[in-house]
C-alpha cells in the first residue's frame, strides 16, 4: 500500500546530494552491513553531521517517491530498498500546529512555545519548533528551516552522544 504522505509530484527538491562532504559511497541505501558507519547519512551520526552543515537529508524512494527523514534502510510506504540520499529544500508550509504550555521538565523556562508539522516543498514532512507565536501561526503559513547548536536547556535534555547534534527549527518565511 502506498499513500501520498511525504511525496510530491513537483520534484523540486535539491538533486541527490553531491557535496564533497557526502561521498558517493553513502548516497544509496546500504546493501552490506559494513556500509553503515557513522559517516553514512543512513545512520543518525551521519544525518546530524550533514544537518550541522545546514543540509537536511532524506532518503528518497526510487519506487514510490516517498521522502524519509531521517534516512533509513527501507521505505515504510512501499517496502522498497532502492533509496537515494537527497538534500531537502529549506522552505515549506505549516500543515498543523499547536502550543506547548506544559513542557517536558527540562524545557520549563522555554514554554510556551509553538510546535508545527511542516511539509517541505519536496513533500517531506517533519515536526519541529516554530519561532513564531501561536497567535501568529496558521495552517498554510510559509516557513523556512533553520539549524543551530543546542541551547543550555536543550543540552541538559540531551544524552551524551546527542549534545553536539544540532537542532532544527522553523522560522516564518
Amino acid at each position: 500500500m502506498s499513500d501520498d504522505t511525504n511525496t510530491t509530484d513537483a520534484g523540486d527538491s535539491t538533486d541527490a546530494d553531491t557535496d564533497a562532504s557526502a561521498p558517493d559511497e553513502y548516497a544509496t541505501a546500504p546493501r552490506a552491513p559494513e556500509e553503515l558507519t557513522p559517516d553514512s547519512p543512513f545512520t543518525l551520526p551521519g544525518f546530524f553531521d550533514a544537518l550541522a552543515d545546514g543540509r537536511l537529508l532524506a532518503a528518497a524512494c526510487d519506487d514510490c517517491g516517498t521522502r524519509l527523514v531521517p534516512p533509513r534502510p527501507a521505505c515504510y510506504d512501499c517496502g522498497g530498498r532502492d533509496l537515494r540520499i537527497e538534500r531537502q529544500p529549506e522552505t515549506g508550509e505549516v500543515v498543523s500546529y499547536t502550543e506547548v504550555r506544559t513542557p517536558p521538565p527540562a524545557l520549563a523556562d522555554r514554554a510556551p512555545y509553538t510546535i508545527a508539522i511542516v511539509e517541505l516543498d519536496s513533500g517531506a514532512r517533519l515536526t519541529g519548533r516554530l519561532t513564531a507565536s501561536y497567535d501568529d501561526t496558521e495552517i498554510g503559513l510559509p516557513v523556512e528551516l533553520s539549524v543551530r547548536e543546542l541551547d543550555a536547556d536543550e543540552r541538559e535534555m540531551a544524552l551524551t552522544y546527542e549534545r553536539e547534534w544540532p537542532i532544527h527549527e522553523f522560522d516564518p518565511a
Binding site: T5, T98, R101, I115, T127, G128, R129
Partner: protein
C-alpha cells in the same frame, strides 16, 4: 479451533492511590479469582502490559506479577507498546489459547503513573515519541494530539464545542460506572472554560494521569466450562498493526492503523461495523473518539465528532453504536499500560449484562475495543468480543 473466552475479569480502583503497581495488581487479580480455583491450578502463562519503568523503577513486571499471582515456571512477559501495551498483552493471551498451545492465560496491565507527578508522567510519556524530530523539539502528549485536533477542526465542520460534548458524554457515562476515576458529570461550558493545555485542546479534553491495574482470564471453551463462573464472553476477532512512529509521517485526519486493525478484527469475527453494539475506543483526548469512530467505520468521514449525540441525531451513515459506555479514558481513567485490559473489562460487563443499569446497553451482543499506543496509530490493537 474454538474462540477463546474471557472467563473472569478484575480491576483495581482507578485514580491516585498509595498502592504501588504490584498492590494494584493484587486487587485486580483477587477480584478476578473470587470464587475460582487458585491461579496456579488454571493459568499456563501471563502477559503484562506496562508502559514505563520510569514511574516505579521496575521492569520485569512479567516475573513480578506471576509471582504475585502464585505462579512459577510459566512463561511470563512484560509487553511494551505505550498505551497499547494492555491490548497487546490481551492479544498474546488470545492467540495462545486460539492456537491450542495454552488452555488459560492471564492478560494483565499495570501502571503507577502518579509516582512522579505531572512532570514525571509528561517525561515518561514523551519517550513514546520519535527521539530525532519529536522529543528534541519538546513535544508532549497533549501537543501531539493537538496537532491532530487542529487539522481535524480545519478539515471538518467540527468545533471545540463539539469536542467538549464528547467529554461531557464520557463524564456522564463515568458517573454511572463504579470503576471510574471521575464519577461526576460536567457541562459543556466547564469544558470550554478549562485552560488550554495545547490549543485547541483544553484540560477537560485530556484523559487524566491514573494509577491502576486490571486482569482478564482468557481460557479455552473447555476450561471456561469447568470453572464456577456464571457467564463469559467470546473473543471472536483480533487485529494489530504498527504505523509510523513520527506523527508527521502519517495521515493526520484518518487513523489508517485503526482502520486496518478494526477491519482485520471484523473479518475474523465475521461481522461488519454496523453489527457493533458497544465500542470502547482510545479517547486519550476527545478528538480521538471522533477520529476512531470514523476509522473503525462507525461514522462517515468528517462526522465522528457527533459521537456524543443520540444515535438518531447523528448524520446519515452513522451506526447506532454506543461509544465509551465506561466513561472512556477521559473519565473512567487512563492507567496507560492497563487501559487495554480495562477496556476489555467494560466489554465483559456490557456483554454479560452486568454493567450498572444506568450505563448498560440493552441487548449488547457485540463489542469493539480499540487500544492505541504512541500517538494515535503508532501501534493499534482491535478486539471484537461477542456474548457467549
Amino acid at each position: 479451533m474454538t474462540d477463546p473466552h474471557v472467563a473472569a475479569v478484575g480491576a483495581s480502583p482507578l485514580g491516585r492511590t498509595d498502592l504501588t503497581g504490584r498492590d494494584l495488581f493484587s486487587v485486580a487479580v483477587t477480584e478476578a479469582f473470587e470464587g475460582l480455583p487458585d491461579p496456579a491450578d488454571i493459568v499456563d502463562a501471563i502477559y503484562v502490559g506496562n508502559q514505563s519503568e520510569s514511574y516505579e523503577h521496575q521492569i520485569m513486571y512479567g516475573t513480578l506479577l506471576a509471582e504475585w499471582a502464585g505462579l512459577r515456571h510459566v512463561p511470563a512477559e512484560r509487553v511494551e507498546g505505550c498505551a497499547a501495551a494492555g491490548a497487546l498483552a490481551l492479544r498474546h493471551a488470545v492467540e495462545d489459547v486460539r492456537s491450542g498451545r495454552r488452555d488459560a492465560v492471564l492478560a494483565c496491565g499495570v501502571e503507577k503513573m502518579t509516582a512522579g507527578g505531572t512532570a514525571g508522567a509528561t517525561d515518561a510519556l514523551s519517550a513514546a515519541f520519535d527521539r530525532v524530530t519529536e522529543q528534541r523539539s519538546g513535544v508532549t502528549a497533549p501537543s501531539q494530539y493537538a496537532l491532530l485536533a487542529q487539522r481535524y477542526l480545519h478539515e471538518t465542520d467540527a468545533t471545540e464545542r463539539d469536542l467538549a460534548h464528547i467529554a461531557v458524554k464520557n463524564h456522564e457515562n463515568a458517573a454511572a460506572n463504579p470503576r471510574a476515576m471521575f464519577r461526576r458529570e460536567t457541562d459543556v461550558e466547564s469544558v470550554l472554560d478549562s485552560d488550554y493545555v495545547a490549543p485547541p485542546l483544553k484540560l477537560f479534553d485530556c484523559a487524566p494521569v491514573t494509577d491502576g491495574a486490571a486482569v482478564v482470564l482468557v481460557a479455552s471453551e473447555d476450561v471456561t466450562a469447568s470453572l464456577p463462573v456464571d457467564d463469559s464472553v467470546r473473543v471472536t476477532g483480533v487485529g494489530a498493526g504498527a504505523n509510523n512512529l513520527a506523527v508527521a509521517d502519517r495521515n493526520l485526519t484518518f487513523v489508517e492503523g485503526a482502520h486496518e486493525v478494526a477491519t482485520q478484527a471484523y473479518d475474523e469475527a465475521g461481522i461488519d461495523a454496523a453489527d457493533v453494539d458497544v465500542a470502547e475506543v482510545h479517547d486519550a483526548f476527545t478528538v480521538c473518539e471522533a477520529l476512531l469512530a470514523e476509522a473503525a467505520g462507525l461514522a462517515p468521514r468528517g462526522t465522528g465528532y457527533e459521537s456524543a449525540l443520540a444515535p438518531d441525531e447523528r448524520s446519515s451513515g452513522w451506526t447506532d453504536v454506543h461509544l465509551n459506555t465506561s466513561g472512556g479514558l477521559k473519565a473512567r481513567g487512563h492507567p496507560v499500560g492497563a487501559t487495554g485490559i480495562v477496556q476489555a473489562v467494560e466489554a465483559y460487563e456490557q456483554l454479560t449484562a452486568s454493567a450498572t443499569p444506568d450505563r448498560q446497553v440493552d441487548d449488547a451482543d457485540t463489542a469493539l475495543l480499540i487500544n492505541e499506543g504512541g500517538v494515535a496509530d503508532a501501534v493499534t490493537v482491535a478486539h471484537v468480543l461477542s456474548a457467549a
